[in-house]
């Protein structure tokens, strides 16, 4: 292989990589999936700037063993008070989001299953609200401001 041929192949490879990478991204964007042209990659990472108007689900604890919590507190802020310590923060967050989406979509089957998965970790009888919070992430971190708080549903845990 001569120098000139090597140079052409190299430049062609770089151009091909860029083309394949971008094609992979277009494919996955069109099909709204993680479909790709392995092992090519577009490197389009964190391309979307998060919105200023965001929404999130939260579980608000209202009562524990018929004792009112005043003011009601987020489950994620006081889990070890009445929860088994065998759920990671990530798993707890996933469960809350799953339950929140199911409540919003009125998906009864998923609600029952997700509640069971969550409530099996409660040590005590717990009354809680499923909330949907609307906020600007910068304001929320800076001042704790929540623009809108909607109670999607209220539950009482079923102790086994």
């Amino acid at each position: 292989m001569t120098y000139e041929i090597a140079k052409r192949i190299l430049l062609a490879f770089l151009a091909l990589y860029a083309l394949m990478g971008i094609s992979a991204h277009i494919m996955s964007a069109k099909s709204n999936s993680t479909e790709d042209l392995y092992p090519f990659f577009s490197w389009f990472l964190f391309v979307n700037v998060p919105s200023r108007a965001q929404a999130d689900f939260e579980i608000e604890i209202v009562e524990v063993d018929n004792q009112a919590i005043s003011p009601p507190a987020s489950l994620e802020n006081l889990p070890d008070v009445f929860m088994e310590n065998n759920l990671s923060d990530r798993e707890l967050r996933d469960l809350i989001e799953k339950l929140g989406r199911a409540v919003e979509n009125k998906n009864t089957g998923v609600i029952i299953l997700t509640r069971q998965k969550l409530e099996m970790h409660f040590r005590k009888k717990v009354s809680y609200n499923m909330l949907k919070l609307h906020f600007n992430p910068i304001d929320r971190l800076r001042t704790g401001k929540i623009d809108k708080k909607t109670v999607l549903a209220s539950f009482v845990s079923n102790l086994p």
């Binding site: 001569t2 971008i22 993680t34 392995y38 391309v47 700037v49 998060p50 800076r142």
Partner: protein, 329 residues
């Protein structure tokens, strides 16, 4: 009628190619750049071996965790006939042995081909759990390009071989810089899309603060620099745009070796960059060759080594720096 625009386009592409080609010829001379590239090359395989060897420690744990969600990528087509434990063991051992082989004989093509195959299988395995895993992408493709380096069996190598060696080595630099430019292209493209849709976008003064606050909220964590950016979003605006600029034009650095160091410092070491573009781990830069390093206790040394060995700093670094790199090991 349609012939003319096509011939213009062809002529334009050829003129760009000629200019690029001429610039490469001026950079790649097969002289001192060859000597430096030759010294750096083995470090790539030392580092590859280091990664593969240290991963062996977790082999039993990985096997015990089971194959939940394992959907083999096409390079693992042969995996169907094996049980999961055997497959993982074969891949991990193969990666270790092939990288060790290449670490001993980095100037021969066959060991480099084996090392690439081992790395490719390992990469495929990691990418077989529902989505691609990009942390080793740079290593993978650099390993791929290194396969095409000529054999350096004769001493001294001919002038043509020296020049091809330097050229291929330059190609790995260009590849890595290209990926940064692609990352910048993505951000700019989506920036315009979001701008047209009236959303917050990459050009917005609070773009960095939005990234940081969203991530911190999802992680339930706080970091000192993050709090500053959230309190004063405008403070991060200008650095954010500079980072975008550096990313997008990274590929041009391949043709301007004199600014390699400036690029290296600006793209790798801006602490702001880590906090703004880096999603899940605030301690590691976005998609760099040091991506796979955070779990190592001697991270800084390894990062340093990685940069020298896996080419992002490459053949224009002077000999003094290479000696320092050796001392670190």
């Amino acid at each position: 009628m349609t012939q003319q625009p096509l011939s213009y386009l062809r002529e334009y592409i050829f003129s760009v190619y000629r200019r690029v080609s001429l610039t490469i010829d001026n950079i790649v001379r097969g002289e001192s750049d060859f000597d430096k590239a030759k010294i750096i090359l083995p470090f790539f395989y030392y580092f590859l071996f280091f990664i593969a060897f240290t991963k062996l420690e977790g082999l039993n744990y990985i096997i015990q965790n089971g194959n939940s969600g394992f959907d083999p990528r096409w390079p693992l087509f042969w995996a169907q006939s094996l049980d999961y434990g055997s497959l993982v063991t074969i891949i991990f051992l193969l990666t270790t042995l092939t990288s060790l082989y290449a670490a001993f004989f980095p100037y021969k093509r066959l060991p480099r081909i084996f090392a690439f195959i081992g790395l490719f299988l390992y990469h495929s395995y990691l990418s077989s759990f529902g989505g691609p895993m990009h942390q080793l992408d740079h290593l993978l493709w650099v390993g791929f390009i290194f396969m095409f380096l000529p054999n350096l069996t004769e001493e001294p190598p001919s002038g043509d071989k020296r020049r091809i060696f330097s050229l291929i080595f330059w190609g790995t630099q260009a590849f890595m810089l290209l990926t940064y430019s692609m990352a910048g292209l993505g951000k700019i493209t989506y920036g315009f899309i979001q701008l047209l849709e009236g959303q917050a976008n990459v050009f917005s003064p609070d773009a960095a603060a939005l990234h940081v606050s969203t991530l911190l909220l999802s992680m339930k964590e706080s970091v000192p620099l993050g709090s500053v950016i959230i309190e004063y979003p405008l403070l991060a605006w200008f650095p954010f745009l500079i980072i975008l600029y550096i990313q997008f034009f990274s590929i041009l650095v391949a043709f301007r070796p004199s600014i390699h160091r400036l690029w290296g410092v600006s793209s790798h070491n801006l602490p702001y960059r880590n906090i703004s573009y880096n999603a899940r781990d605030f301690h590691r830069p976005e998609h760099t060759d040091s991506d796979f390093i955070p779990e190592f206790p001697i991270r800084h040394k390894v990062t340093f080594l990685a940069r020298y060995s896996s080419v992002s700093s490459a053949c224009r670094y002077d000999f003094k720096n290479l000696v320092q790199a050796k001392k670190f090991i």
